[in-house]
């Protein structure tokens, strides 16, 4: 529906959009307090109504209705709004940690580290994207591959140690339910890995005997025992999600972020 603008004209549109946004934000600040919540509720309702109407409105031969052309701009608008939300998050993070450094609160050194990391990855990422050369790429790789990627993997892999310790201490057959749980976990774990599968790979791969191979028992547990339970949980979650979506759409939700400030 809207075509991207190319060339120098794009700067005119950006400046125009910034000015228009500034004016809208200014006008919003002039709205009296008692009208703000109804306004937010109205915008939320209209935004949700658009997608609901577009989905339910009868379509023509080309499988579209009068709202379909607006799906693209709505999607792009959502991306812009999310980018603003990201900026808001960074602003909030920066203000909290700047205060922490300024007042030298306990652990303020970590705030300094946060700023160093934030700027290092952001600047090197921007330079690598907009001024790609060997030096910028190496700097970016140093922070991204050598820093972020390694730290992220390390943090997550630590869970493995806790799992081993917790499994050893907590998986005890103290009741019938615990015994059933432990037995099924045992089979699924064995059937999941090559060494476990090797225990029964002397059994035939086809026919009745194949049913007794550990990987097939594992698959049976996952598809015949686990799946119905997952579906039941999903059904409950789906109903809950529908109810929550309706409450959000109609601005009936109460609590933090909705009818009172944090």
């Amino acid at each position: 529906m809207f075509r991207p603008v190319q060339g120098p004209a794009v700067w005119g549109y950006i400046i125009g959009a910034l000015v228009a946004s500034g004016v809208i934000f200014f006008l919003l600040t002039l709205i009296p307090g008692r009208f703000r919540k109804p306004l937010i509720a109205l915008i939320t309702f209209l935004a949700g109504l658009f997608y609901a109407l577009e989905f339910f409105w009868p379509t023509g031969r080309d499988d579209t209705n009068f709202l379909t052309p607006f799906i693209d701009p709505a999607g792009q608008m959502a991306q812009v709004l999310q980018a603003f939300a990201l900026g808001l998050g960074v602003y909030s993070l920066v203000s909290v940690h700047l205060r922490s450094i300024a007042r030298q609160r306990s652990g303020w050194g970590f705030s300094v580290v946060l700023f160093a990391a934030l700027f290092a990855i952001a600047i090197s990422g921007l330079l690598n994207a907009y001024r790609p050369n060997r030096y910028n790429q190496n700097v970016f790789n140093f922070f991204f591959v050598g820093g972020l990627q390694a730290l992220d993997s390390t943090m997550f892999s630590i869970i493995a140690f806790y799992i081993v310790s917790a499994a050893y201490r907590a998986f005890r057959i103290r009741s019938v339910e615990a015994t059933i749980l432990l037995s099924s976990a045992f089979i699924v774990m064995l059937g999941q890995v090559a060494l476990g599968q090797a225990l029964t790979n002397w059994l035939p791969a086809e026919g009745f005997g194949a049913n007794l191979r550990v990987e097939n028992i594992r698959t049976w547990i996952l598809t015949r025992v686990n799946s119905p339970a997952v579906l039941a949980v999903d059904f409950g979650l789906g109903m809950g999600a529908l109810a929550t979506a309706l409450r959000l759409w109609l601005s009936l939700e109460r609590g933090s972020y909705f009818d009172r400030e944090l």
């Binding site: 579209t64 999607g75 990201l86 493995a160 090559a194 060494l195």
Partner: protein
């Protein structure tokens, strides 16, 4: 404290050391472990990609490789990306990397593509493209918009080139020009594709899922319902895929580590339970009463 009580309370540092050895040694010394059995979800994943490659119409369409993961699940997700990308490149299928969960995903998948492109004669822009990252909160509106007009919904690739000017995007307009969606993730992002993309075209888009081992069990119902055409579960799924590709790589070596780590956990669980039962029977035998 008796011997069996001590066996129930092994110092956690000893457990950590055992785990390091179980995971690390097979990786360093390539421990002998038999090839894993190829399970049905992996087989159907492979068959779906093969069917695409053998179909004269669908092989000219674009595969979306949705790299919705970060380094935290790299051992599983990145290995799966590597094996699946090898298969796509080997069968000369065009693909687009896309990401709407974590900005690391687009970068990690791009690194994998750049690592493999020379081996398979792939060229960025001609054979594959990276659409980049879009914010997670806008995932649903973006994917909904992609149904009718991908170039408009995505705009530009990671090199800031409009999608309409990229050769591999030629003829790609909307959902009907997509051969398959391959979702690689450790998050709950699959429903975005199933809910808002899969059945919006003239015919359903085959959807393949590479998930972490811990999330695999949740997705099994989707295989039975036909919403997923195949699934790789964790590092083991990637190892099974390497068996099918007849191209052993990191997943195969990792499969050995996984085997020994699993056996360590099972051995520790058995040890804990046996020592608990023996400790109980000894206590009740000596008349001091057992613990429940």
């Amino acid at each position: 404290m008796g011997f069996f009580d001590r066996l129930q309370n092994i110092d956690r540092r000893v457990l950590y050391l055992l785990l390091i050895l179980a995971v690390g040694l097979p990786l360093i010394f390539s421990a002998p472990v038999p090839a894993p059995a190829v399970l049905p979800p992996t087989r159907s994943f492979y068959d779906t990609v093969e069917a695409l490659a053998n179909d004269p119409v669908r092989r000219n369409k674009l595969v979306i490789l949705s790299a919705n993961f970060s380094s935290s699940t790299a051992a599983e997700s990145l290995t799966q990306t590597d094996t699946v990308m090898r298969h796509l490149m080997r069968r000369k299928l065009k693909f687009a990397i896309f990401d709407f969960v974590d900005p690391q995903g687009r970068e990690l998948a791009q690194q994998t593509a750049e690592k493999l492109q020379n081996q398979y004669g792939y060229v960025y822009g001609r054979d594959y493209v990276n659409w980049g990252y879009r914010p997670v909160g806008a995932a649903v509106p973006t994917v909904k918009a992609m149904v009718r007009d991908i170039p408009a919904a995505i705009g530009r690739d990671i090199t800031n080139t409009p999608l309409t000017e990229i050769p591999v995007m030629e003829g790609v307009k909307g959902v009907n020009d997509i051969a398959a969606v391959i979702e690689v993730t450790g998050s709950a992002s699959l429903p975005v594709w199933i809910g808002y993309f899969q059945r919006t075209g003239r015919e359903p888009v085959p959807t393949l899922f590479c998930t972490t081992a811990v999330q695999g069990p949740e997705a099994f119902p989707l295989l039975k319902s036909g919403q997923l055409q195949g699934m790789l579960v964790g590092l083991q799924g990637a190892a099974e895929y390497e068996v099918l590709l007849k191209e052993p790589g990191f997943a195969t070596r990792g499969s050995a580590s996984l085997s020994y780590a699993h056996f360590l956990i099972l051995a520790l669980i058995i040890l804990g339970n046996v020592s608990m039962l023996l400790s109980r029977s000894r206590s009740s035998g000596s008349g001091t009463g057992g613990t429940r």
